[in-house]
Amino acid sequence: MDSETDPLDSSPSPPPPPSPAFFERDRHVMFLQMMYQLLPYQYQTQEINRLTLAYFVISGLHLLQSLHSIDKDAVADWVLSFQARPRVKGEINNGQFYGFHGSRTSQFPPDDNGILVHNGSHLASTYCALAILKIIGYDFANIDSESILTSMRNLQQPDGRFIGTFDCMDSSVHCTPDPCHGLLNDLSAAICSMLESWSGMDREKAKEYISNCQSYDGGFGLTPGSESHGGATYCAVASLRLMGFVEDDLLSKNESSSIINVQLLLDWSLQRQAADGGFQGRPNKDSDTCYAFWIGAVLRILGGDKFIEDKSLRGFLLTCQSEFGGFSKFPGQLPDLYHSYYGYTAFSLLDEPGLNPLCAELGIAIATAGI
């Protein structure tokens, strides 16, 4: 037997360094404050979603009860500068979506006649913008909600799903840059919820589309017929909850639902907690920090989070906690903002002291910002 290739003969790899036994809140605050000041160049590839990166930082600081370090007026000014505005009120019925852009990359100035010829505003960045403004306590009476809500309806398709943006100058070029309709339905429900008006969408049609996305195994896919996925399942359940089609804490009330198969959903969700304590997004995938939120929040909404093995979940998450602050996707890797944010939301669901409690269906902290 060739000892160079025989795995039984290879020396064992050194054991990983011991994980800290606790959630290192101060390090996470410092990590977020550093990101708030400057993102390393590697975030260039996420430039188009800069507002989302800001959302992770600001909502993260809010969850960690450390919002005092930011300049709220500056944040409000910056966020509002991304809003797409019609030149005159009548234009909001011209078929465009007047939401928020995600970055300057998709935002171009109006032409010499003041017409917004190119409008790249997007549903996802609109959610992030409104969430940030809510968190910093901005007075929503000063936001042009009507343009957002009226024009949002243009993004909803006849079958109930939402597209994210039009972003095209030539109307004959049909464009739907985001096939992740499940996510977009959730964002639209969240936007209506924050603006306290359902005039932005047809809830019945959205409900129908979402219920068609529940798969035979109880989870939800991104589109009807696609594989059940942790993120898509969260988006489906959160939207139904926000739209009022699912009661809070169904399981404790021993209730069922006419729209979704709750028992199968519960089974599917609980099976996603793996032997290492973490949650996976789909069967046979590795545990990944963010699914502790995506699936944990589903279970919280249903009232099934009492079935989660909290101790082993914490144990897994702490192996993804970085010594620099923040969380990584998998154990022992470098942290990134996305997994850091969902690490914080997961710890909030685990009732970690020093963190604000989470509104599971909106994915941001409750109450403190007047939600």
Binding site: M35, Y36, Q37, L38, L39, P40, Y41, Y43, Q44, T45, Q46, E47, I48, N49, R50, L53, A54, V57, I58, D71, A74, V75, D77, W78, V79, S81, R104, T105, S106, F108, H118, G120, T165, D167, C168, M169, D170, V173, C175, T176, P177, D178, P179, C180, L222, T223, G225, S226, E227, H229, R282, N284, K285
Partner: protein, 176 residues
């Protein structure tokens, strides 16, 4: 300086020469930007150029090439992908070559919604003649990552929209 750095510098110099007639449009971040990014020079130059080209709506071969480079720096930028489609239509480019382009982007990172949306757009334009290529493309990706969500979605879409069901049961048998 290794080979790739040399290529990058040469590329930058070539672009500056090619676009010397165009005034780049810098990003206006406003007085107090939040979460500023420490952009590298090549990124800033490329995107400043893209902004100018997009604003002028230049639909030319050099603009097409610029979108290729912008996509390599920021494959998630849907504005660039969308403008690329506008240019491809305006220039009436042979879209078979575009399949190769998306293949090369996917070699870098295939888990990108914009990439798959673009591939779908190309396949839709090419119609049934692209069916076998699309089934082959997704088959290759699935052989490397059996749970690749985008690849499965695309494959399902191809079968439903363009056909090619004949061998699908056999393919499933092979996988099982």
């Amino acid at each position: 300086m290794d080979d790739s750095d040399g290529e990058e510098v040469a590329g930058q110099a070539h672009r500056r020469a090619e676009w010397s007639d165009v005034t780049p449009l810098p990003q206006n971040d406003g007085p107090s930007p939040v979460v500023p990014i420490a952009y590298k020079d090549d990124f800033t130059e490329t995107m400043d150029l893209f902004r100018a080209v997009f604003h002028a709506q230049e639909r030319s071969p050099r603009a097409l090439s610029l979108t290729s480079h912008a996509i390599s720096l920021n494959p998630g930028n849907y504005t660039v992908w969308q403008f690329r489609r506008v240019i491809l239509e305006a220039l009436n480019v042979d879209l078979l070559g575009e399949l190769d382009f998306t293949q090369s982007v996917s070699n870098g990172n295939s888990k990108n919604y914009q990439l798959w949306h673009h591939r779908r757009w190309v396949a839709e334009k090419l119609g049934a003649s692209s069916t076998s290529k699309e089934l082959e493309f997704t088959k290759k990706i699935l052989s490397l990552d059996a749970k690749h969500y985008h690849a499965w979605s695309h494959r399902q879409w191809v079968l439903q929209s363009l056909g090619g069901w004949e061998d699908e049961l056999n393919y499933c048998d092979d996988l099982l």
